[in-house]
C-alpha cells in the first residue's frame, strides 16, 4: 500500500466513524460506544505495559472507582456530571498514587500480582458498601449535559466518547515522542541504565501508572453516565484481565493497538454470543474457553498482537528531519588541573569476597586516566561505586569537592558524571537517535504536560540536534533512525559513548570502550578521546587493550585482587616489576 493510499484509507475510516449515527443501527452505535470506552482503558495499558513494561490486571478497579465516584456524587448529592468527572478523576488519581507508591518499587511479577490482589479487594469493597448500594449498585445516574444538550441518546454520547478517545490517543502519542516519553520507553529492561542517565525510575513509573489510571477513570465516568447504572460486576478482576488482553491482542507496542484490541474483543464477544448457543446450552461457558484459547495462541505465536501485521501493510511515517537548532546549554568545565574526582580507601565486599579493598586515587580535570588490571581485579566494581550503581561499604568519593559517596546514581549523573557499561545497556528496539537522546535527559526540562500538548517542541529540536551531533561525532550518523539492536556489539559500545557525551559530562567513565572494535575504529576512538580532552572533559576508562591504553592516557592506575597495585605514567607503569608480575606471573 502506498503512503497516499494509507492516508486515504485513514480518512475514510474517520469519515465512516463520524457519520456512523446516520447510517448504522443503534445497536452498532452501542457497540462502538463500548469499544471507545474499553479502548480508553486499553490505551492506558498500552502506555503502561507496552511502553513502560509494567503489567496491571487491576485497571478495571480504577474504572470502577471513577464510575462509582461520579455515580455517587450525581445521585446522592445531585451534583452535575461535570463535577462528577472532577471527583472521579481525583479519586482515581488518589487511589493510583497510593497503590503505585506502594507497589511500583517492586520489580518483575510482584507488581502484577499486587494488582490482582487490589483489583479483587476493591471489587469486594464495592459490593459491600451500603452507600454504594451493595451488590445492587446505584441506579438513575443522570446523563451528561453540554449546556442544554442532553447526551442521553446513544448517538449523542457516541461523539463524546470518541472525541475523548481520539484526544487521549493524540496526547499519549505526543507524550511518547518526548523527553519523558523516551524515559517511559526506556523502562523496559533494567533500571540501572535508566538511573545512570539521571532519570528517576520510580517517578516515571508512578506518573505513567497515574496516567493509565486517569484514562481508566475517564472511561469509568463515561461508562457510568452512558449506562446510567453502576454495579460491581463490570469492574471485577475478569474485566481487569480482559482490558490487559485487549492491549496485548491489539498490539501493546503501538498506540493504536488499544483501539484495535478493544474492537476485536468487543466484536468477537458479540459474535460468539450469537454463534456459541448453537453448540452448547449455555454459550457463556464456551465463550471464556474460546477467549482463553485465543489469548494463549496469541501469546505463543504473535506476542506483538495484531498491529505489527497491520503496520507491515502501511509504509512507515517519514521521520521528522533533524534541523539545526540552538545548542543545549553546556556546563562550565572545571579548570584544567583542578581536583575533579577523589577516591579514598574504597571498600566493597560481596559476601565473603573482597571485591575492592582500600582503593584510592585522584583525578585532575582534563586528564585521561586508565584503570587496568587482570580479569576480576575489581575495576568495574570501582566504576559502579563511583557512579553509584553500587554502594560502597567503606571509604569516600568526592566529585568537584562534593561528597558523592552515597548520593545515588541519579544525583551523581546530574553532578556531571556519565558512563558506559561493561555489558552494553542500550534499548535495542529504540532508534540510535532515541538512545542518545536519553542522554540529554538531565539537560532538558520539558515535563509530561508540555510534552502531551507539544509545547516542548523547541527544546526537543535542540535536544535532537545535539543528539545527532554526538552520533555524527562518534561516527554513527549514517542511520540515526535504525534500531540500536542492529548494530554490531563494538558499535553498540560506541553508541553508549555518544549517549554519555549527550549528557555533557565533566567526567566520562568508559568501561572497555574499545572491545570489539577494529583497528581503524580504535584509532577513531583515540582521536575522539583526545578531542574530548581538548574540550576540557576528563576521561576515566577501563581497557584490556594495553597498546590502546598506553598510547592514549596520561596516567594509569593498576589494580589486582581488589587493591591498587601502582599508579603512574604509562612508561613508569610498564617498567614496574609488580605490574609485570601481576600480568605475566613472577619470573623467578
Amino acid at each position: 500500500m502506498s503512503r497516499r493510499a494509507a492516508i486515504v484509507l485513514a480518512l475514510a475510516v474517520i469519515a465512516l466513524l463520524a457519520a456512523a449515527p446516520f447510517y448504522a443501527t443503534s445497536f452498532t452505535i452501542t457497540l462502538l460506544n463500548y469499544i471507545g470506552i474499553y479502548a480508553l482503558v486499553a490505551l492506558g495499558i498500552v502506555l503502561l505495559t507496552g511502553f513502560g513494561g509494567l503489567t496491571s490486571f487491576g485497571q478495571a478497579a480504577f474504572v470502577g472507582i471513577a464510575a462509582y465516584s461520579t455515580a455517587w456524587l450525581t445521585t446522592a448529592e445531585g451534583a452535575s456530571p461535570w463535577l462528577g468527572l472532577l471527583f472521579a478523576l481525583a479519586s482515581t488519581g488518589l487511589a493510583a498514587t497510593v497503590l503505585g507508591a506502594v507497589t511500583l518499587r517492586l520489580g518483575g511479577h510482584y507488581l502484577p500480582l499486587g494488582t490482582v490482589a487490589w483489583g479483587l479487594a476493591i471489587f469486594f469493597l464495592f459490593g459491600n458498601f451500603e452507600a454504594l448500594g451493595r451488590h445492587n449498585g446505584l441506579a438513575n445516574v443522570p446523563p451528561i449535559y453540554i449546556g442544554s444538550l442532553s447526551l442521553e441518546p446513544t448517538a449523542a454520547i457516541y461523539y463524546l466518547i470518541w472525541a475523548v478517545l481520539i484526544a487521549a490517543t493524540i496526547l499519549v502519542a505526543n507524550l511518547l515522542e518526548s523527553r519523558e516519553g523516551r524515559a517511559i520507553r526506556s523502562l523496559r529492561g533494567g533500571v540501572v541504565m535508566v538511573e545512570s542517565l539521571g532519570i528517576s525510575v520510580f517517578r516515571i513509573r508512578l506518573i505513567t501508572f497515574i496516567i493509565a489510571a486517569l484514562l481508566a477513570g475517564f472511561s469509568g465516568w463515561l461508562y457510568a453516565h452512558m449506562s446510567r447504572f453502576v454495579s460491581p460486576a463490570p469492574f471485577d478482576l475478569r474485566m481487569g484481565i480482559q482490558y490487559l488482553f485487549m492491549a496485548i491482542l491489539g498490539g501493546s507496542g503501538h498506540i493504536l493497538g488499544a483501539v484495535v484490541g478493544a474492537a476485536l474483543i468487543t466484536l468477537l464477544e458479540n459474535a460468539l454470543q450469537d454463534v456459541l448457543p448453537l453448540f452448547a446450552r449455555d454459550g457463556q461457558q464456551l465463550e471464556v474457553i474460546v477467549f482463553a484459547v485465543i489469548y494463549v495462541l496469541v501469546l505463543q505465536f504473535a506476542r506483538g498482537g495484531v498491529m505489527p501485521f497491520v503496520l507491515r501493510l502501511v509504509p512507515g511515517a517519514a521521520k521528522a528531519p533533524i534541523v539545526a537548532a540552538a545548542p543545549l546549554p553546556r556546563r562550565t568545565m572545571p579548570e584544567r588541573g583542578t581536583a575533579l574526582l577523589s577516591v579514598e580507601r574504597l571498600f566493597k565486599r560481596f559476601g565473603g569476597l573482597e571485591a575492592v579493598s582500600q582503593v584510592g586515587f585522584d583525578i585532575k580535570a582534563g586528564e585521561i586516566v586508565g584503570l587496568i588490571g587482570p580479569n576480576g581485579a575489581g575495576k568495574s566494581t570501582v566504576f559502579n561505586l563511583i557512579t553509584g550503581a553500587l554502594t560502597c561499604d567503606d571509604g569516600k568519593i568526592f566529585f568537584l569537592g562534593e561528597d558523592i559517596t552515597r548520593a545515588g546514581q541519579r544525583r551523581i549523573a546530574e553532578a556531571g558524571i556519565a558512563r558506559t557499561f561493561q555489558h552494553v545497556k542500550l534499548r535495542p528496539n529504540m532508534s540510535l537517535l532515541d538512545n542518545v537522546l536519553l542522554g540529554t535527559y538531565p539537560r532538558t526540562r520539558a515535563g509530561f504536560f508540555k510534552a502531551a500538548l507539544r509545547l516542548d517542541r523547541q527544546e526537543e529540536r535542540r535536544a535532537r540536534f545535539e543528539a545527532f551531533a554526538q552520533l555524527k561525532r562518534v561516527g554513527l550518523g549514517d542511520e540515526p533512525y535504525g534500531p540500536a539492536g542492529n548494530l554490531p556489539l563494538g558499535r553498540q559500545r560506541i553508541l553508549e559513548v555518544a549517549r554519555a557525551l549527550a549528557a555533557d559530562p565533566a567526567l566520562i567513565i568508559l568501561d572497555e570502550p574499545a572491545a570489539g572494535l577494529s583497528r581503524v575504529e580504535k584509532k577513531a576512538l583515540v582521536d575522539l578521546l583526545h578531542s574530548l580532552r581538548n574540550e576540557g572533559v576528563t576521561v576515566l576508562l577501563v581497557e584490556h587493550d594495553v597498546e590502546f591504553v598506553m598510547g592514549l592516557v596520561d596516567r594509569i592506575v593498576v589494580m589486582d585482587f581488589g587493591s591498587k597495585l601502582v599508579e603512574g605514567t604509562p612508561a613508569a607503569v610498564r617498567a614496574n616489576p609488580r605490574v609485570q608480575e601481576a600480568y605475566l606471573g613472577s619470573v623467578a
Partner: protein
C-alpha cells in the same frame, strides 16, 4: 471477643491455613522450577473436591471429559512438536505420557461410574483423576513458552484461569457441592474443641511438607529439580531436561492441590470457580514468604488462614477485602526490606 471465641477462631484459622500451606507449597514448587506464577492452581483444588463430590453422588465426574479433552490437545501438541523437529519416533513416548497415562484413571472412573465404591477407593481415584490436569496444562500452554519472561508466563497463566473456569463450568455445572465428612469425631481438651477433620488437615499439611522436604533433600530427582530452579541452563548442561523437570514439578504440585481439595471438600461448599480465590489466598501467603522459600510460604499461608478466620468473625462480607488488602503492606515491607529490586528482565519482542 472472648478468649474462647479467639481460640476457636485461631484453631479454625490454622485448619484453613493448613490448606493454604499445601496450595502455597505447590505454587512455590511450580514457580521455582518453571518460573510460572501458576494462577489457576486453585482450580485444581476445587476440581478435586468436585470430582469426589460427584462420585459420592453416584454420578460420573466431569473430570473424565476434562481429562479426555486436555489429553487430546496435549497429544496433538506433542505430535506437532516432534514432527516439526523431525523426530517422529519420540511421538510414541509422548502419546504414552500425555495420552495413555492420564486416561487410565479416567477410564476406571468411566467404567465404575455409579458403582458403589467404598470411600477409601473413591478418594485415591479422585486424586488420580485430577493430578494429570497440571502436567497436561503445562505441556499444552506453558512448555512452548518455557524461555519467555516471568511476566509473559504470568500473563499466560492468567489467561489459563479463564479457560479452566470455563471448562469447570462446562463439566461440573454451576451448582455447588460439598463432600461427605471424612470423619466426624470431636475431641475436647478443656476449652479446646478439636474435630478430627481439623486434625487431619493440620496433619496432612505437616506430613506433606515433611515429604516434600525429604524429597528435595534426599532424592536425586529432588536435587535435580532444585538444580533446575537455581539455574536452568546449568541444569541442562549436567543432563537434566528442563521439560521433564517442569512436568514433574507440575505433577507433584497437582498432587498437593488434589489432596488439598479432598481435605477442604467437607468443610465448605465449592463451586466450579471457587478455586480461583483459594489459589490467590495461598498466593498472598507465598508472597509473604517471597515466592521462593518453602518455610516462609508455610508461615505466610498459616498467617493468611488465621487472618481470614478472624476477619470473617469481624465482618464476614469484608473478609476477602481484608485478606487481599493485607498484600499491600506486605509488598511495602518487602520493597523496603529488599531495597530496590533490579529486574533485568528483558522482554523479547517479535
Amino acid at each position: 471477643m472472648t478468649p474462647d471465641i479467639g481460640l476457636i477462631l485461631g484453631i479454625d484459622g490454622i485448619a484453613t491455613g493448613s490448606i493454604y500451606i499445601l496450595v502455597g507449597l505447590g505454587l512455590v514448587l511450580i514457580f521455582s522450577v518453571t518460573r510460572v506464577v501458576f494462577v489457576p492452581f486453585g482450580d485444581i483444588v476445587a476440581f478435586s473436591a468436585l470430582t469426589l463430590a460427584t462420585m459420592q453422588l453416584g454420578r460420573m465426574p466431569g473430570t473424565v471429559y476434562m481429562i479426555v479433552t486436555l489429553a487430546a490437545v496435549a497429544c496433538l501438541v506433542e505430535i506437532g512438536h516432534h514432527l516439526r523437529r523431525r523426530q517422529p519416533r519420540r511421538i510414541v513416548r509422548g502419546l504414552f505420557y500425555y495420552g495413555l497415562l492420564p486416561l487410565i484413571p479416567a477410564a476406571i472412573a468411566f467404567f465404575t461410574a455409579g458403582a458403589n465404591m467404598p470411600s477409601w477407593l473413591q478418594i485415591p481415584l479422585a486424586i488420580a483423576l485430577v493430578v494429570p490436569i497440571g502436567p497436561l496444562i503445562e505441556r499444552i500452554a506453558l512448555r512452548p513458552l518455557a524461555d519467555a519472561s516471568v511476566l509473559l508466563l504470568l500473563v499466560v497463566s492468567v489467561a489459563l484461569t479463564f479457560g479452566l473456569s470455563g471448562l469447570g463450568l462446562l463439566f461440573f455445572g454451576p451448582e455447588g457441592f460439598r463432600t461427605k465428612p471424612l470423619t466426624g469425631e470431636i475431641f475436647r481438651f478443656g476449652p479446646i474443641i478439636l474435630s478430627t477433620q481439623t486434625l487431619l488437615m493440620v496433619a496432612s499439611a505437616a506430613v506433606f511438607s515433611l515429604l516434600l522436604f525429604l524429597f528435595f533433600e534426599q532424592t536425586l530427582i529432588g536435587k535435580a529439580l532444585r538444580a533446575t530452579s537455581v539455574n536452568r541452563i546449568g541444569a541442562r548442561i549436567v543432563g537434566i531436561r528442563p521439560g521433564n523437570a517442569a512436568a514433574l514439578a507440575f505433577l507433584l504440585a497437582s498432587l498437593l492441590g488434589a489432596v488439598s481439595g479432598i481435605l477442604i471438600g467437607p468443610t465448605t461448599t465449592l463451586y466450579y470457580d471457587s478455586g480461583f480465590i483459594i489459589g490467590l489466598k495461598a498466593f498472598v501467603g507465598a508472597i509473604i514468604g517471597g515466592l521462593t522459600s518453602y518455610p516462609g510460604t508455610a508461615l505466610g499461608a498459616l498467617l493468611i488462614g488465621v487472618l481470614e478466620s478472624f476477619a470473617s468473625f469481624w465482618n464476614s462480607s469484608l473478609k476477602e477485602v481484608v485478606v487481599f488488602s493485607v498484600l499491600i503492606p506486605v509488598l511495602l515491607w518487602r520493597s523496603l526490606s529488599l531495597g530496590r529490586v533490579d529486574d533485568e528482565d528483558h522482554e523479547v519482542e517479535e
